[in-house]
Amino acid sequence: MLVSAPMEFVEKARIMDGMRINRALARLASEIVEENHGAGHLYLVGIQRRGVPLANRLADKIADLEGERPPVGVLDITLYRDDLSTVGANPIVNRTDLPSDVEGRNVLLIDDVLYTGRTIRAALDQLIDFGRPRRVQLAVLIDRGKEHRELPIQADFVGKFVPTKKSEIIKVMLDDFDGEEAVAIVERPTAEGE
């Protein structure tokens, strides 16, 4: 999961602007309804925080295509993290809200960036505590590449594939939190080498 980058990070490249993010989401929406034969059993679940606005935007686009807006839920995975004993301070717990039952639904988890896969592991564990979905799929705006994965988890739908180094961070900015729409690669300055 991405934590908003502090000031000492330098931006290396902007890889998406608002228009490109929008186009990527439009394509993802088409792929999702094609793969699921419509929106009938779909249940979109955004992972806090930036997965949530992305889930809502995908639901809007699916509604445009299918005339039916799938329900949208919100998952906060903090309490299911595997690193609570090492992260130091306790991360802030955000809201979890699954308004309809996950039982028997095609759940589509949505997050901004897929990196190690640990966030998704936590989301899967939490989701299954809420019931037994018929199928769980994963959509991400950015996939940083399989070589970073620490668990056998892959995305079913990818907005943009961005191979990165470990020292780099993908920064996804959305109007809802950041006041602008962009995806950037940032890196810690090498001079300070940590």
């Binding site: 309490l79 299911y80 609570l84 992260v87 301070a89």
Partner: protein
């Protein structure tokens, strides 16, 4: 990005900043949802041990802490004074050292003596939560009251709160007075002269707290009316002529409640003495939030256990620091605290305890 408490223990409300209180309340608000799930359990404190050490009878608070721990997947052990070696003459410190040898991560303690949790905090590596110490503090009760008020009223700024009854023996009143005035509420205390000494007005410095003779004067225009329990077990020194007289002059009746704002809410920390400090029709009335308080109590205790026990090394790592400050050592921890508290009056040991936390409120910001 990551807010946290400046202290490793929750010993009292006094010493907490408004930001810290708000952070606990915000966390508690998100924890409410867990208790509405079909599987009311998250794996957050898996492998952590919570000991409930209760030297006074308690159903609500102990059960609440026990369920809170279990819903976070901690292992919860209850020790009560009647069934423990305390009855065989063991001192509090010896009990603590023995429990400590079993490596608990959190110890929740209720004790009839003010300052007992602070003493425990000085000798234990575990995080200590005060679940009520004498007439001193009961921080989780004040936090759950605040959560209940916030859900109804939105904010605390300028809110008028009346706290009625046996203030002298009430740790709930003290914790609430600190908490509510810290968040900007105007608090009026009232009760019989023997149980509501005027000196209480100086409990908090520079914030809005007053003591009234007549409860009507405190209730008038109030947004929140909080009734305290008459502690019958502590009435052996003739503070009151009779319980009946108390009910007549100081009980919250429907008629007295009419003096408050039309949308005023009624609260009571329980257990209630119906017909004494609160009339049954008020306790069961539509403005009573007594059962909401119980539900919020669970959420608050989950939040406190999470915030104190969920992060880095509760038992194994450096006890002085939870977070940023890596400098402290176990030795500096133990050398700091005790001296400053030696001369403190028994009812106010918290000032001393605050320094035990290692990092002050400022340094963590």
């Amino acid at each position: 990005m990551k807010a946290q408490l400046s202290q490793r223990h929750l010993l009292g409300i006094r010493g907490l900043s408004a930001d810290e209180i708000t952070h606990i309340l915000d966390t508690a608000e998100t924890f409410r949802e867990i208790s509405e799930r079909e599987i009311k359990k998250v794996p957050t404190l898996r492998g952590r041990t919570v000991i409930n050490l209760f030297f006074e009878p308690s159903t609500r608070t102990r059960t609440s802490f026990e369920i809170a721990g279990k819903r976070l997947s901690a292992d919860v052990i209850n020790v009560s004074s009647s069934s423990s070696s305390v009855t065989k003459g063991e001192t509090l410190l010896d009990t603590a050292r023995n429990l400590e040898a079993m490596s608990p991560d959190l110890i929740v303690i209720r004790h009839p003596s003010a300052g007992a949790p602070h003493q425990l905090a000085r000798v234990c590596r575990a995080s200590v939560v005060n679940a009520g110490d004498g007439a001193h503090e009961h921080p989780t009760q004040a936090l759950l009251d605040a959560l209940t008020i916030r859900q109804q009223k939105g904010s605390f700024e300028g809110l008028r709160v009346a706290i009625l009854g046996d203030l002298l023996h009430s740790r709930v009143a003290r914790s609430n007075a600190h908490l509510l005035t810290t968040l900007g509420a105007e608090v009026a205390l009232a009760g019989p002269g023997t149980l509501a000494p005027p000196e209480f007005a100086s409990l908090v410095e520079g914030r809005s707290l007053r003591v009234e003779r007549r409860i009507e004067d405190a209730i008038e225009g109030a947004d929140v009316v909080m009734v305290l329990r008459i502690q019958r077990e502590r009435q052996d020194k003739a503070f009151l002529p009779s319980l009946r007289e108390y009910a007549v002059h100081f009980g919250l009746t429907r008629k007295r409640l009419e003096l408050a704002k039309p949308d005023a809410i009624v609260m009571h920390p329980g257990p209630m003495n119906r017909g004494i400090e609160i009339a049954s029709d008020v306790a069961d009335g539509s403005r009573s939030l007594i059962l909401d308080q119980v539900a919020n109590g669970l959420a608050v205790r989950m939040a406190v256990l999470y915030l104190l026990g969920g992060g880095a090394g509760t038992n194994t790592s450096n006890p002085t620091t939870r977070v940023k400050d890596e400098a402290g050592t176990a030795e500096s921890q133990s050398s700091k605290p005790a001296a400053s508290s030696a001369d403190e009056p028994a009812t106010e040991p918290l000032r001393a305890a605050v320094s035990v936390g290692g990092t002050g409120t400022e340094s963590s910001k």
